[in-house]
């Protein structure tokens, strides 16, 4: 049990590192744009000192752009902060949709780098008891495995439904994704997480999906 927890913690550390690196990169991009705007303002002031008129419309537009980039960076910092707190969050009752939406936001940049679009397709609430960080980590293992096995644009939909006393989390892929290979590799790498969540991973080649079945009520 100790080695399984140890492996889950190691996977968690890798997950935390990957997400933090990605989000800090996004923040740096926003800061780079703010830096260029500050530089451009400085350029325009120097030109105005040499007699070129300074357009107020241009200044308004630059100011609005800076505001947008600050908002962008602030959103990323908010996400990073929520993610950092989730790493030490205990088992809670939450809606699966909320976990899907947060995971999709976390991996958005990395998915986009791999030309993958992620959507959440759920109309009804499917509450479950879970450590959100561990489930997010398992979803990331599946996504990361997929990214390493595809080329070209693809899409994924996260869904969940109640199944007796369990919840079935469905990762629905589009055509042309090697579902079986992803299932085999993700189950192998994510084994400690599957054990921690008491989950079973089943690839469904016919329907281009992977289903994670786990109890809705988590008993210690």
């Amino acid at each position: 049990m100790i080695s399984i927890l140890g492996s889950a913690n190691t996977l968690g550390l890798f997950f935390f590192g990957s997400m933090s690196a990605s989000m800090s990169h996004e923040i740096k991009n926003a800061l780079a744009i703010i830096n260029e705007h500050a530089g451009l303002l400085d350029d325009l002031v120097r030109l105005s000192e040499k007699g070129k008129p300074l357009s107020t419309d241009r200044l308004k537009s630059l100011s609005a752009n800076i505001g947008r980039q600050v908002q962008r960076a602030d959103n990323i910092v908010g996400r990073l902060n929520r993610f950092a707190h989730s790493a030490r969050q205990p088992v809670i009752t939450t809606d699966t949709k909320e976990i899907f939406e947060f995971t999709a936001a976390l991996v958005d940049r990395l998915a986009s780098m791999n030309s993958v679009t992620i959507t959440v397709g759920m109309d009804v609430e499917v509450p479950m008891q879970v450590r959100p960080f561990v489930l997010e980590n398992l979803l990331w293992v599946c996504l990361k495995t997929m990214f390493s096995m595809i080329s070209g644009p693809h899409s994924i939909e996260f869904k969940a439904k109640k199944k007796d006393s369990d919840v079935a989390i469905i990762i629905q892929f589009d055509e042309g994704v090697p579902v079986e290979m992803i299932g085999v590799h993700a189950a192998q790498e994510g084994q400690p997480l599957l054990i921690a969540l008491r989950a079973v991973m089943s690839p469904d080649v016919q329907n281009n999906s992977i289903t994670l079945t786990m109890p809705r009520k988590f008993e210690e």
Partner: protein, 136 residues
Amino acid sequence: MKILLVDDDQDFIDVLSDRMIIREIDVTSVTSAKEAFGLVEKFSYDAIILDLQMPEIDGLQALERLKAINPDLPVILLTGHATVAKGVEAMKLGAIDVIEKPVDIRVLTEKLKKINTQKKSWWATKLHSTLGLKVL
């Protein structure tokens, strides 16, 4: 001087282009490596400024392809987080420099000026050696 700027962040290329235009640099900007390949096949540029991390085709893959289209094309790579390994890989693939974001416009324009000077000097030597012409 004609520059092609390639970065997937439209906001970034818009503002960096404005700053380069103020410095009398003729800049064309695109948001994907694919667009850059098409332009490099059709037009001539003095240098390319290329983002290292882009969707679909990343900077290193793009660099390799651009060098295959035009081996003499000077390419400067831009990166959010420079690592020594990436820098070495970029240099091996033929990049002339790797610049970390946020960009210092003075550093960037100095590097572009240097490329321009080297290019002029290369042409002068070539014309002198092959045709005996002296470029003023």
